[in-house]
């Protein structure tokens, strides 16, 4: 049995809406009320301007585990982190933290714009809990990780937001806490840096540190976290293996608010699986199976079922349908359901992709129902490629083919330029 690093028991947190006190006219009665009434009003009832940011949240994180927290904006993710780090206290409920916890709630929080990168590394390092000697020892490593050697003596107010974030993450990545809490760090920074961050977090995880990772980047969560907590409106919706929780989260997004009443045909289910039953993470080049189920409310004919794939920016990269694949159109009676299974080969570059489905009638160009995104998959690859497709590159040869001295090469270029 592994030891507990963090435990929350029925944690509630109440916040106030609106301004604290709008005017003196509000303040005096409220102070008077607080003085006389507050005694008998418990902590578990809400005042008129209050709301629950967290309601009955309980979970446990073991030592050395990587734990993800996902949920829509305003679900209470950051509130949990603030409770964990001790910045706020829960209204009711208890919270245990075992070990030195470093929270990275915002990257570069505590940077001062007027100070240089160098000064900020020391300041931020100490703020985050390192000692001066520790920072001095790791200074070169931090600077190298950030890739900002040139600008280290420039005030950070002159930095771009990406540079700012890189420096912030570089400092934080060199902390040596028992528990590392990270909130939305991958939202900034370019592709290369994001990948370095994930690699670094993986490395940190291998040293036995407990990581709590909050992100909207589901791919990163899926890659990094063993277990995940899904929050919605301050309540725990699901906690368990990352794969399942992400699936719940994705379904919630598309199915939750669908209006089915006025549709003649609806897509009732879209599911993806590989040959061995895996359903979220796939290897590039792998064959996957996509099942689409449709149900008709009234009799409809001439239908075909389309499969759509978009990249993470919801840009369509693939689209086909049963009719275009030379299958006859289908005809559904009222109340009848059909199922279509596609096999596709994932010749995709590593990344996040969304699958969707549509029911379409070509001869009258009528779209009956579209469900996109219906499922999200992550494709990984051993080779490092960018873009959306995997063209299976191979370097056939790579060698020098001769040398020009600088004079001749200039001569070669000049006539071309002057010709324009």
């Amino acid at each position: 049995m592994s030891q507990t690093a963090i435990a929350l028991n029925h944690v509630y947190k109440k916040f106030k809406k609106g301004e604290l006190y709008d005017s003196l006219r509000d303040l005096i009665p409220s102070l008077a009320r607080r003085f006389f009434v507050a005694r008998d009003r418990g902590n578990d009832s809400l005042g008129s301007k209050e709301f629950w940011a967290l309601q009955d949240v309980s979970f446990e994180i073991h030592k050395g585990e990587s734990f993800g927290i996902i949920g829509n904006n305003g679900a209470g993710k950051s509130t949990i982190l603030k409770l964990l780090s001790g910045i706020m206290k829960p209204t009711t409920g208890t919270l245990e933290v075992h070990g030195r916890l470093s929270a990275l709630i915002e990257i570069g929080a505590g940077f001062h714009p007027d100070l240089t990168g160098r000064e900020n590394i020391f300041l931020n390092g100490i703020i985050l809990g390192m000692t001066k000697g520790e920072i001095r020892r790791k200074f070169d490593e931090i600077v190298e990780f950030s890739g900002l050697e040139e600008f280290i003596d420039t005030p950070v107010k002159r930095y771009s937001s990406g540079m700012y974030a890189r420096l912030g993450f570089a400092v934080a990545a060199h902390l040596e806490p028992d528990i590392l809490v990270i909130d939305e760090v991958l939202s900034v920074g370019d592709y290369v840096f994001q990948r370095r961050c994930i690699e670094k977090m993986d490395a940190i995880l291998n040293t036995g540190v407990t990581i709590i990772f909050v992100s909207h980047n589901l791919e990163a969560v899926a890659g990094l976290c063993q277990r995940t907590l899904l929050l919605g409106h301050g309540k725990v919706i699901e906690a368990g293996p990352t794969k399942e929780v992400i699936k719940t989260y994705m379904n919630q997004g598309s199915y939750g608010q669908r209006q089915l009443i006025d549709k003649e045909v609806v897509i009732s289910k879209v599911s993806v699986h590989g040959k061995d039953g895996e359903d979220i993470r796939f290897e590039t080049g792998q064959k996957i199976y996509c099942e689409i189920e449709i149900a008709a409310r009234v009799r409809c004919c001439g239908l075909s079922i389309a499969l759509l794939v978009t990249d993470n920016n919801h840009f369509e990269i693939f689209n086909t349908s049963t009719e275009r694949l030379k299958h006859p159109t289908i005809c559904l009676d009222a109340g009848e359901s059909w199922k279509c299974e596609y096999e596709v080969c994932l010749n995709l570059a590593p990344g996040t992709y969304h699958l969707g489905a549509a029911v379409y009638r070509y001869d009258v160009q009528k779209e009956y129902d579209t469900l996109l995104p219906a499922a999200t998959i992550y494709v990984s690859s051993d080779i490092d490629i960018k873009g959306v497709t995997n063209l299976y590159p191979r370097v056939v040869s790579l060698h020098a083919i001769g040398k020009n001295d600088s004079k001749t090469s200039r001569d070669l270029i000049r006539p071309a330029c002057s010709a324009i």
């Binding site: 780090s85 709630i105 915002e106 929080a109 007027d114 100070l115 703020i127």
Partner: protein, 262 residues
């Protein structure tokens, strides 16, 4: 209380780092830089000298160097105290980012705020020492009182700033009140004049301000070369200690709600 102070001691390096940050930022991107630390008190001292000159004209006595020394010896600790209050009142609200995003004992901010003002005081004091030496104010055994009085003044500043910064976090009115008080307090505090001037009835009232006996004490032990008035120093010390414990309790009690009320 003891547990909290022990926790605070563990954050020594942080206090040191934030103090340095405050000092550095104060003089970043300014041409005069650290010279401001001499310039500002010099202005206060000249104002005091002018007031003294007016007094001298009025009473028909010549303006002595020792009177200028008296003003300087009081005005410099006074401007330290005032700037600590000004700067310290805003120390929590100025660091919203840290208060709401990273956990550590928040009393680090008020303490650092006062310590950073100490840097200016140090520079000004150095200049003052040179001036006093030129003015012929020599050594005496009573100079041993200076560190005691200084300690008391710093302690009083920390105590006040703990209270004011926490109060300001909830109600921004506090900073305006502080601003007004700080501007006019010089009239109610014996900086440009001596408490003795006020006569037997008014002197105790003037000295009720806990800063006043400390300033009078500086004058006594540096310029007049005599013992400070012990009864009044004891009074200041008592007020300081009581205020410190009360402020600290208040600060720690409110601290968990800082992040959501800032």
């Amino acid at each position: 209380m003891i547990k909290e102070i022990r926790e605070l001691l563990g954050y020594r390096e942080l206090i040191y780092a934030i103090t340095w940050k405050d000092i550095k930022i104060k003089y970043k991107q300014s041409i005069m830089g650290v010279m401001w630390a001499i310039f500002m008190p010099a202005l206060v001292v000249s104002a005091g000298a002018l007031v003294k000159y007016a007094f001298a004209r009025l009473s028909g006595t010549p303006l002595g160097l020792s009177q200028i020394a008296t003003v300087s010896v009081k005005a410099i600790p006074w401007s330290f105290f005032i700037s600590s209050l000004r700067f310290g009142t805003n120390c929590l609200t100025a660091n919203v980012n840290l208060v709401t995003k990273i956990y550590f004992p928040n009393e680090v901010f008020p303490i650092s705020a006062v310590l950073s003002q100490l840097f200016d005081l140090g520079i000004a004091s150095f200049v003052l020492c040179v001036l006093l030496a030129v003015a012929g104010i020599g050594w005496s055994i009573y100079l041993l009182w200076v560190p005691v009085l200084m300690g008391l003044l710093i302690f009083l500043a920390v105590a006040s700033v703990l209270l004011l910064s926490a109060a300001n976090l909830f109600f921004r009115d506090v900073k305006y009140i502080v601003e007004v008080i700080v501007t006019f307090a010089i009239f109610f505090t014996p900086v440009f004049y001596e408490a003795d001037f006020m006569g037997a009835t008014w002197k105790p009232i003037i000295l009720l301000n806990p800063v006043a006996p400390i300033l009078e004490g500086f004058n006594a032990c540096i310029v007049l070369r005599q013992m400070p008035e012990m009864a009044w120093i004891a009074y200041s010390a008592t007020v300081t200690i009581v205020l410190f414990f009360a402020s600290f309790r208040f600060f720690k009690k409110m601290e968990p709600s800082f992040a959501e009320n800032i």
